[in-house]
């Protein structure tokens, strides 16, 4: 495999609705931004780029099949190769990794990963119905298909099993909303409190409206290149930021579509197949898990995502990471729900299973220097969702994983001030970050590691 560099990106401002443009033109906003950011014009870039990967989740939202080729066409990329990927909420993350494969394999030197979703063409509750069709239509959907309901069931089990509280969940929402207050691309711009989260309308007990991301219209684009690709772009006049941002690890995991079908494995199987290297090597942690299992915990059950743990372990191994909490400068993860951010802390090994609630309220995942209006017992260690995540930025499904990639590129380039016109979300001396994209009730999960070269 060849080194792969993530050199540029663009994001359309995520919005409740973008009736002013068709989806192709919304994608082109992000595409033009990404090209302009390396100092090239449309025609010069078009001559060099080898192909694209298209990301969008639902044919229902657009009521348009083969929308990918319509975007590829609009961007002037025909007859170059392209394909569309689809994997629910993880579609953007999968797209990023497929573009990585195009470069790493030597098939392409410059590849564009673009993603979009236009969710405003149907009303919210119809949109929820479309999303719920990404559950088994014979056995899950007809019972009351509603993703917030599915995730809320995971929450009640997490609460019962580990003592997690709704207030701990609300810390995630406060963190992400206040981060997004400084992100001009975010759909939501409001400062909220724990009380606001808990007193918001109840959607699926115990998740309120402020525990849940919103539907959005939006697009995001990331440009990936090989060393040969860099040379071609720079020969054409591109100004590519140094140090380069290299994609040093990718991982992907899966699980059963019906979350009721997930296995409940014993302690030995967990330690053998799913524990992180850090967990395996700690006597104290092994004893901690033994105690959990003695109280009846089984893995992954419905409280954890083995797809996320599998993807994380794979990506950490690929990138040579042993202690993600201390070896990553930041993580952009898929917080469709406050609860799924907490579940994902655990899956990624930022804390142990069962400790996600206290971790959320500890302060370790917050940005330094921002006023959250909270008394946090610990200092920030590894900011999670410095952008504001899905909860505050919005979740135009096919664009989301690529939005994370773009924000990660900008963090590692140290260019947040340039792109946000505000440096308060710049993670100081960011060297390595992870992006995490998640589908369904944990059916597809991708984790990719990006880091500054050298």
């Amino acid at each position: 495999m060849r080194p792969v560099y993530a050199i540029s990106g663009g994001v359309s401002k995520f919005a409740k609705a973008r009736p002013d443009k068709t989806f192709q033109a919304v994608i082109k906003e992000a595409y033009d931004y990404a090209i302009a950011d390396i100092g090239l014009d449309f025609e010069s870039f078009t001559r060099i780029v080898d192909g694209s990967v298209a990301s969008y989740f639902s044919d229902h939202f657009a009521r348009q099949l083969m929308a990918g080729i319509m975007a590829h066409d609009y961007l002037g990329l025909c007859p170059k190769p392209s394909h569309r990927v689809e994997g629910g909420g993880a579609t953007g993350g999968i797209c990023f990794q497929e573009a990585w494969k195009n470069i790493a394999s030597g098939h392409m030197d410059v590849c564009v990963a673009y993603g979009f979703e236009i969710m405003s063409h149907v009303e919210t509750w119809k949109g929820n119905e479309f999303i719920a069709l990404a559950s088994d239509v014979s056995f899950d959907y007809p019972v009351g298909g509603f993703y917030s309901g599915y995730y809320a069931m995971m929450v009640t089990r997490h609460m019962k099993e580990f003592g997690t509280t709704p207030e701990q969940l609300a810390h995630v929402s406060v963190k992400n909303y206040i981060n997004a207050f400084h992100n001009p691309y975010a759909q939501k711009s409001q400062r909220i409190t724990i009380q606001d989260v808990r007193s918001a309308p109840m959607v699926a007990w115990p998740l309120t409206r402020l525990d849940i991301c919103v539907m959005s219209d939006g697009a995001a684009v990331a440009i990936l290149a090989s060393e040969e690709g860099l040379k071609k772009l720079e020969a054409a006049g591109a100004k590519i930021a140094r140090p380069l941002v290299e994609v040093t690890g990718i991982g992907r995991g899966t699980d059963a579509m019906r979350m009721a079908d997930r296995p409940h494995v014993d302690y030995d199987a967990f330690m053998c197949d799913y524990a992180t290297e850090q967990e395996k090597s700690s006597d104290e942690t092994r004893a901690y898990y033994k105690k959990l299992w003695a109280h009846g915990t089984r893995y992954p059950g419905v409280h954890s995502f083995r797809a996320g743990r599998t993807a994380g372990n794979m990506a950490w191994k690929h990138a040579g990471i042993e202690d993600p909490l201390h070896e990553l400068s930041f993580v952009e993860l898929h917080d469709a729900y406050t609860s799924s951010e907490i579940q994902t802390y655990e899956d990624l090994g930022l804390c142990r299973y069962g400790e996600g609630g206290p971790f959320a309220a500890s302060g370790k995942a917050f940005m330094p220097g921002l006023d959250y209006g909270l008394k946090l017992p610990e200092k920030p260690v590894c900011p999670v969702n410095p952008s504001g995540g899905l909860i505050a930025c919005g979740h135009p499904v096919g664009a989301t994983g690529l939005m994370q990639a773009v924000f990660a590129i900008w963090q590692l380039q140290g260019s947040i001030q340039k792109h946000f016109r505000d440096d308060r979300l710049q993670v100081k001396n960011a060297k390595r970050g992870a992006i995490h994209s998640h589908a369904g009730t944990g059916t597809y999960v991708t984790v990719s590691v990006l880091e500054c070269e050298g």
Partner: protein, 181 residues
């Protein structure tokens, strides 16, 4: 006094319009003005009826229609699935049917949906639950009845429940639901 709505509900539909403002002349200035035109939004209806087959899982629905809760079991290992599965995920072998109607069951996880997908909005609030059934390795997603949706409590987890069946089968998984036993 109850809080009164301050805004009218937004709905689609209305008058049918056969015309839209457009410049009388298409001179360059008028055409340039079109760049400032607000977008046209139209309604597009999309309705379809599928003839959906339950395939090899059909006996499970036939069982519900006859007040029996069936499950699939791997004949060698005995691994048992509450929702049917034609082949075992570990051995790849074809599963066999067993009847689990009378087995002890309890709530594993639940939620109360105060909102939902469009199809289920009229039923809100409703309780979704995952049920543990003795000797069954997977859970069963179902509706939980007989509890107050406005008094949700973690104490519901672990509560003993039993299946009930609709007398008039709809051939849907909601033909069975659970209530406290």
């Amino acid at each position: 006094m109850a809080e009164l709505p301050s805004r009218r509900e937004e709905t689609l539909g209305g008058y049918i319009v056969h015309g839209v403002p457009f410049p009388v002349d298409t001179d360059p200035d008028s055409l340039a003005f079109l760049k400032r035109m607000a977008p046209i939004l139209i309604e597009q209806e999309y309705k379809i009826t599928y003839l959906h087959s339950y395939g090899q899982d059909s006996p499970w629905f036939a069982g519900l229609a006859n007040k029996h809760l069936l499950a699939s079991r791997d004949p060698e290992s005995g691994y048992t699935y509450a929702n049917p599965r034609g082949h075992d995920m570990f051995s790849g072998a074809e599963t066999e049917w067993i009847d689990i109607t009378d087995r002890p069951a309890k709530v594993h996880a639940f939620t109360v949906c105060h909102f939902g997908s469009e199809e289920f909005l009229p039923e809100c609030p409703f309780v979704l639950a995952l049920i543990e059934i003795e000797g069954v390795n997977t859970l069963l997603l179902t509706r939980l009845m007989g509890v107050d949706p406005y008094q949700a409590s973690l104490d519901w987890i672990g509560m003993k429940v039993r299946p009930y069946f609709l007398r008039n089968s709809k051939f849907k998984p909601t033909d069975v639901y659970f209530s406290p036993s």
